[in-house]
Every structure is written in C-alpha cells, then in structure tokens.
Symmetry: D2
C-alpha cells in the first residue's frame, strides 16, 4: 500500500487524501479542506458524508497495512461529535484481526486537535490460501 494505491481510486483523488503513516500499529490520513466538502454554501461545516468516507478509508488502510492486501468494508458505525471544519486528520487502529474479518477504530480530529467524529468498521479479510 502506498501513494500509488491512493492515486488509483477516483473518489480518493477527488477527496485528495494523503496517507501520512501506515504500519502495523495503524494509519494516519490527512484530508485537506476543499470547497466541495461543505455541507452548505453559507457555512464552514464539512458534510457528514465526507467525514464518514474518511472514516471508512482510514479503517480500510489500517486493516490493509496489517493483512497486506485489499479488504472490503462490511459495516460501519459513525458518531458525529461536533461540527467539523477545515483540514481533518484520521487515525485508525485495528481492534481485532480475525480469520475472515477485522474490526477497526477510527478517530477524526480537526486542526485544533478536537475530536470531531469516531468510527468503528468491520472489513472482510480474504482467507489465506
């Protein structure tokens, strides 16, 4: 998994995500602000759909960094804790890596370091041959 992988996903190109760190301890992803992310034109709040996509992607990369291949999201819970503004950073860790599934926890913070959302997602892991 490297920047090339991220560059191959059209939606991730739109988001403009930057993979800052990815190892077996977890990943850190940076999402620089774009005008298109706004919830309303007159407000500086980001749309919840941007935050949930960031959570899904961060959890995905955390699991992939551990299993060494692509995985698919099975389900996800997102909790929005406060309005999110500006650039965001998501950190994700793997809570449990099982034979066929993996669970990941994700924290999303703004530039002030405030926790704006948390997510927990399950991924389907390919069986070892």
């Amino acid at each position: 998994m490297d920047v090339t992988d991220i560059g191959r996903s059209p939606y991730q190109v739109f988001l403009g995500i930057k993979l800052r760190r990815a190892d077996t301890e977890g990943v850190e992803i940076f999402l620089p602000f774009r005008q298109e992310f706004l919830r309303e034109a007159e407000s500086d709040w980001l749309h919840g759909g941007i935050v949930s996509a960031l959570i899904d992607i961060a959890g995905n990369y955390a699991v992939e960094a551990k299993v060494g291949e692509g995985v698919a999201t099975v389900d996800m819970r997102v909790d929005y804790l406060r309005p999110s503004r500006g650039d965001l950073t998501a950190t994700a860790t793997v809570v449990k890596l099982g034979k066929t599934t993996a669970l990941s926890d994700v924290c999303v913070r703004d530039l002030k370091g405030d926790l704006v959302a948390v997510g927990r997602a399950m991924y389907a892991v390919p069986r070892k041959k």
Copy 2:
C-alpha cells in the same frame, strides 16, 4: 425542503443528487453515476463513501420532511450488502420521531433493483419552541 435546498449544499452539488419524492411517508433520492464515485479506476464499483453519504442524506431528508426544518446527524450504521454499480436510488423512512431525536431507515438499490446497502441513522431534532 425543495430542490433549492439541495442546490445550496456544495457536497450535494458534487454528488448530483436528485430529490424525487419527499413527504411524511419518506423520501426517495436518485444518485446518477459519476466517474469520480469509483472505488478504483479499473473497476465499476462505487466507493463506499458515496454510498454512506447517500444514506446519511436520505435519512436526513426523511426526518426534515417530517419535522419541517434542518436536522443534524448524530450517528449512523451502514451495512454494505453487495458491490454497488451505476445509478443508485435511496429510499428513507422515519422509524421513530421523538422530542429531541429521530431514527431513520434507509435502503439503497441499484438500477436492477438489488439492495446494495442499508443504513440506520439518528438525527438531532431541534426542540419545539
């Protein structure tokens, strides 16, 4: 709530969502395919972040159609049932409208009518003055 509202949200403009129906029974939203929604350049699978955004938005409009004003997503569960491709349609209903919160159920289908994802989201409802 009308098409003007949708047009005022930069992220919803990017998504290109069309509100097909909105009444107290629920809402139906249409999401026409865009190249930028793809998960990978070589595949026709939509990114999960598009599907979860659609769920969030559909549930939001279902609650707003009932309470008559803007609401904010508190938390959301998304279950991805199969790969989603092409244009999508989301239907959302309100399971419970309480004094301060509302719960919505959302089904996402592709053009063949296959259920590709389901979501359940909670929204904070402004208290009546």
Copy 3:
C-alpha cells in the same frame, strides 16, 4: 431448530423465551414478563439488557431458520425507541444472506403493539462444505 434447542440454552431458559414461529420468512419470539427483568425495583420498565438479548436471539434464529445450522453473532446495533414494559414480542427477518455472513433486522413490540426497540445484527455463517 425447535423448542428443544431453546431449552438447551441456560440463559434462554432464564429468559423464558418462546419461539412462536420460525420459517424462511423470519421468526417471532415471545418473551413473557419476569420480575427479574426490571431495570429498577420501583419501576415497570424492563432493563435494556433484556431487550438487547431478545434482539440478538431473534436475529440469530431468523438466520438459523434460513441456513439450517447454528450461527454466531458478530456485531449488533440496538436502538431503544421508548421504555418497554410487560411481555415483549420480537420479529426478525434476514436482510441479506451471504456466503460467510448474514444480516438480520429485528423489531420488538409490547403488548399494545408499540415498537419499543429495533435491532440490526450480523451473524457469521459456517461455510458450506
């Protein structure tokens, strides 16, 4: 799956659940009131832990009625819609039956027919040999 199965589970014996219907369309489970289910001694509200157990069990039986063997709960979301009192009935259906997982939706109603809680749970399904 029959009443014998239910009778072999010590916790289900404590709960006293009755399997009223189980077919490929779904299941219906009846949970007669017990004093031990109360949340507080001075109130007639049932404890949330009783409602969530009922949801887990109903979803489990709905999946088992479709796959014909035992399954294990992977994750679950429960939404408590209003205080629950007295005897409860849970109906569960299978939203999606995949090769390794199944998703079930559960509705819990009281004797008046009011929806007191809804649940959505994922179960691990044994692979076909």
Copy 4:
C-alpha cells in the same frame, strides 16, 4: 451512584455485577460467572445477551459518574471479538459529553485479559435546569 443503586435494579441483582471503580475517568465493572449466563448447557461460552447487557450497564455508569444523575440508553453497537468465558470485567469511558447526549466506549475482557467484546453506546442526558 454507589452499590445501593446497583442493588436496586432487579436485573442487575440477577447479573450480580460489582462496581469496582467509578470516577470521572470512567468505571470498571466486574461480572462474576453464573451458570445461568451460558449460551448452551454443554459449552462454557457465555451468552451474547449477557455481554451486551454488561456493555450497556458499564457505559451507563460511566456517563452517570460524569453527569451525577441517571441516564437512558439511546442506541448501542456491540462487536463480539471472541467467545467469552468465566468472569468478565468491563471498563467504560466517556468519549463525548454533550448537552443532551453522551457517548461511551466499553471494553470487555476475560480473566486472562483478552478483549472479548467492545461496545459503543449513546445515552440521553437530562438537560441542566
């Protein structure tokens, strides 16, 4: 919140939970094994409904220890990570305390210290007068 509170809940008396620690940092609850908690008579696995009840209760006490009065569970996600056996310990912290809701994270471990389940639950907090 003290042992008296726990003793006043009939379901918590059945469970036999012990509140080991409760402060603004979080709570720790001990659940000693009972034969009635078993999923099947021939197995030493605890029923999932016991684990989800423990999660709900631990998150509840964590929020109550912070707000100083009773709260009600709104929704909950539970992830079962491995079969749980014997005595269990749940630790809960408050992720976010808002004006009307609070979010809590719960970890459940067995006597070996293995993480057997995690939960995330939202509670309705009474408004300050």
